[in-house]
């Protein structure tokens, strides 16, 4: 009995400690708990989540406000529409086929026409039949855990040559975090030799810090260490100015304004011909960006919102 009383007392003091302690010495970093309670819950109403989670809905709004993003070739909702949609799309030389509600980048296929007129996906020939099957599987929910889904067919982005100096493969993108339409922090995500074309940090991609005010790159972070160059390339990225930086900030702010979501992670790519394009938006942006920029989000909020 005495042991029980003691344990309960310990529990109480422990709880009160947890509740009262404001992490003073590390007050700059925002953890998952604080992100959820202070940033996501009050700023992003759950009912508006689909606007970010469903790529088709996101693009509808972007198109409506003429915010630059990849041109939509087709949206396919039913199996019976696949053939008709394909007839409209096949005149293009390249396209990206995506599930509207895919998770973790699954189900995305980039197809390109080669000189002989064959469709190729990741170097291999893909038949029209295989393309249809992929679309049908997407509609059946193969990439969205069993729920019905839509297929989004859109223009294929060609990365700007700026990126080739840093690392020549894959599609790098910028992630800008905005709070109440103000950009707080940004990073450039790039694939590596080990990341299989993916630019996500937890899939072996690297993040490169961005100085929002100067519009330059800072350091490369691979999840463990910081470098001044891409791990698979010698080119020094420090203080390199980012092309179209003004536009990137502008379309981020514009995007943040047209969505009823006040805390966002906005993904932007730079197309060779068309310049910055919104790729997708995220209502639960990850916290790794703090590591990439060597700065806590709390500090960023303080600096950016008091200006």
């Amino acid at each position: 009995m005495k042991r029980y009383v003691r344990i309960k007392k310990n529990l109480k003091t422990m709880l009160s400690k947890i509740l009262k302690i404001k992490p003073h010495k590390n007050s700059n970093v925002i953890g998952l708990n604080e992100r959820n309670i202070k940033l996501i819950y009050p700023n992003n109403a759950k009912k508006h989540y689909p606007l970010a989670d469903d790529k088709v809905l996101t693009k509808e709004i972007l198109h409506q406000y003429d915010i630059p993003c990849a041109e939509t070739y087709a949206v396919i909702e039913y199996n019976s529409d696949i053939k008709k949609a394909w007839e409209a799309c096949k005149k293009y030389k390249a396209m990206a086929i995506k599930p509207a509600n895919g998770c973790g980048g699954g189900g995305i296929k980039i197809i390109k026409k080669d000189v002989e007129g064959n469709w190729r996906s990741s170097g291999k020939i893909i038949t029209e039949r295989q393309i249809f099957q992929h679309m049908a599987a997407t509609i059946m929910g193969f990439f969205s855990l069993g729920s019905h889904d839509r297929v989004l067919v859109e223009e294929c982005i060609e990365p700007h040559p700026f990126f080739h100096k840093i690392y020549p493969q894959g599609v790098p993108d910028f992630r800008i975090i905005t709070l109440n339409h103000i950009p707080l922090m940004g990073m450039l995500r790039m694939p590596t030799d080990r990341s299989d074309g993916k630019a996500n940090l937890h899939q072996n991609g690297v993040g490169i810090g961005v100085d929002l005010d100067k519009g330059t790159l800072t350091e490369v972070y691979d999840g463990k260490n910081y470098f001044d160059h891409h791990p698979d390339n010698e080119f020094i990225v420090k203080d390199i100015p980012i092309p179209y930086w003004k536009e990137i900030l502008e379309i981020s702010i514009e995007t943040a304004k047209v969505f009823p979501l006040d805390y966002l992670g906005i993904d932007i790519v730079i197309d060779k011909n068309k310049g910055p394009q919104i790729m997708e938006i995220n209502v639960r942006p990850g916290l790794g960006i703090q590591l990439v920029n060597k700065q806590g989000l709390k500090k960023a909020i303080e600096e950016k919102t008091n200006k």
Binding site: M1, V5, I18, N26, N33, A137, L145, G146, L287
Partner: protein
């Protein structure tokens, strides 16, 4: 801001009420703290009915005593006025109860009632035993029914000792040999030699053979008698064997398969090759043991009425009324507490788990199958399901049907394992079926969902983190007094709610994030 103050006031108020309510009950409970902590409590009644003859008539029996694993509290002894009752401690430490009468040709009834509180106990046997002193010489001598000096016993003993490397193995060989003798419900006395000859025996034959073999090899051994308590009326008593190992009498029940272990419901009554009841020959005599299991709170020296009389609310009424099986009540009460623990692990420590109640439920099933084998089975099955679904991933099956395929294969595996286990007598394989299938199914689904959402590496990582949370829950749940505490102090449920609310407002850095964001803290 206003709603925040309201929340704070409500939380403080509820906590205050709960703490006061607990405080009111605390004093009587601390005063009645009982460190014996029995697992089971039974009311036992020796009910005898007999007719006295012309001459003086007697009925004798043994009555149990307290020891490290049982506590006896005497109740009332109902006898009619013509019966004379006395107790006598005999020189072999047994306590005899004797009823005498001089009245002739009359019917008598005896009710000897007591409360038996028992706990189980297992013993660790050292590899080699210390040589025994002469004080225990009598436990090495042959007797009429324990013919330890007989040549066939010697021959058998020699065979059993041949492959043994140490004393412990000798005892194990004897135990295995006697255990393997088929058991048969033989009521008549079976001696050690007959047991070998017939190659079947009930408890008394097996125990005598065990004792005879031990004595033959120089290990002091004796018969131990008692009753296996069950919630019923019964007429059968039970005997097992004890071997003196390093000054401790260690129990071996070759009939029920208890090696150096005695379950909590074994009531020890006497030692030596005796009869539990003896009476004047030729009289009419009938008996039953009326046994009733009673609900109890392990750490309290209070009876049912006293617990009921405690001020404030408690759930004792539910236990007493038998409305709900105690195990379901325990599960119900422990679930929120386990949930709070998992919430703490997730939001404060930063452990990632499949679901919130899943680790608690897995921990619950581990209580039944044992931690180590349970964990191995659990991880094995889940990984197997993940592996099985891999080729289906490649083929490109839709999510839900694919899940059905893997779960069906899992069920098939469980059945096959159970069949193999049953056929070749591999116990741990048969326990698979006791693993609540629902819990396994949910866990397997979560795992395969995670393999799709986060990839195989992350999913396995999450599985092991779930296991970590399960282990911590297991630690909490295996604290035996916990359900009883919750039954007496249901206010803790309120405290769980308030703590969860506070936990829900916690915005500090999770412990694992200190590691993750380490570069930023320097």
């Amino acid at each position: 801001m206003n709603s925040k103050t309201n929340l704070r006031t409500t939380v403080t108020l509820i906590t205050l009420i709960a703490v006061i309510s607990i405080g009111l009950k605390l004093k009587p409970i601390i005063n009645n703290y009982d460190d014996f902590n029995p697992d089971k409590v039974y009311k036992v009644n020796y009910a005898y009915f007999f007719k006295s003859e012309d001459k003086g008539t007697y009925v004798k029996t043994f009555i149990p005593k307290d020891n490290l694993r049982q506590r006896i509290s005497e109740g009332n002894i109902e006898v009619d006025s013509t019966l004379h009752f006395r107790k006598r401690e005999e020189n072999n430490q047994n306590v005899r109860a004797i009823w005498n009468t001089t009245s002739r040709n009359t019917y008598h009834s005896v009710n000897y009632k007591f409360t038996f509180e028992g706990k189980d106990r297992s013993y660790i046997i050292p590899k080699t035993f210390i040589k025994v002193s002469d004080a225990y010489k009598e436990y090495l001598e042959p007797t009429l029914n324990i013919q330890s000096g007989d040549t066939s016993i010697s021959k058998l003993a020699k065979e059993l000792v041949q492959k043994a490397k140490n004393d412990k193995e000798v005892i194990k060989n004897i135990y295995d040999y006697v255990s393997a003798i088929p058991s048969a419900p033989i009521i008549t006395l079976t001696d050690a030699l007959t047991t070998i000859k017939q190659n079947k025996a009930s408890c008394n034959g097996k125990s005598r053979l065990f004792v005879a073999l031990s004595r033959n090899l120089g290990y002091p051994a004796r018969i131990k008698g008692g009753i296996i308590a069950k919630n019923s009326n019964k007429r059968t008593s039970h005997v097992w064997a004890e071997v003196l190992i390093n000054e401790t009498w260690i129990p071996f029940d070759t009939l029920n398969g208890h090696f150096a272990y005695l379950p909590s419901n074994y009531l020890e009554i006497y030692q030596g090759d005796e009869f539990l009841i003896t009476h004047t020959p030729g009289i009419q005599f009938d008996y039953t043991y009326q046994i009733k299991e009673i609900n109890h709170i392990a750490f309290l020296k209070m009876n049912s009425e006293e617990i009921r009389a405690l001020s404030g609310i408690s759930l004792w009424g539910l236990v007493e009324g038998g409305i709900m099986p105690k195990s379901s009540l325990n599960l119900l009460l422990l679930l929120p507490l386990g949930g709070l623990l998992v919430a703490f692990l997730r939001n404060v420590v930063g452990v990632k788990t499949f679901g919130i109640f899943l680790p608690v439920l897995i921990a619950f099933s581990l209580l039944h199958i044992g931690y180590l084998s349970g964990v191995i089975l659990f991880v094995g099955l889940i990984l197997l399901v993940g592996l099985i679904s891999y080729p289906f991933d490649k083929i490109g099956l839709l999510y839900t049907p694919k899940l059905v395929v893997s779960l069906t294969i899992m069920v098939g595996l469980i059945i096959i394992a159970a069949i193999i286990g049953l056929k070749y007598n591999i116990t741990w394989l048969t326990t698979l079926t006791f693993f609540p299938t629902i819990i396994l199914t949910i866990a397997a689904e979560r795992f395969s969902r995670s393999t799709i959402e986060d990839g195989y590496k992350m999913a396995i990582d999450k599985l092991f983190q779930t296991l970590l949370a399960t282990t911590i829950c297991f630690g909490l749940l295996s604290w035996k007094a916990l359900p009883s505490i919750l039954i007496i102090f249901p206010e803790i449920i309120l405290l769980i709610i308030t703590s969860s609310i506070l936990l829900g407002r916690y915005i500090g850095i999770r412990w694992v994030e200190f590691y993750r964001f380490k570069p930023l803290f320097n």
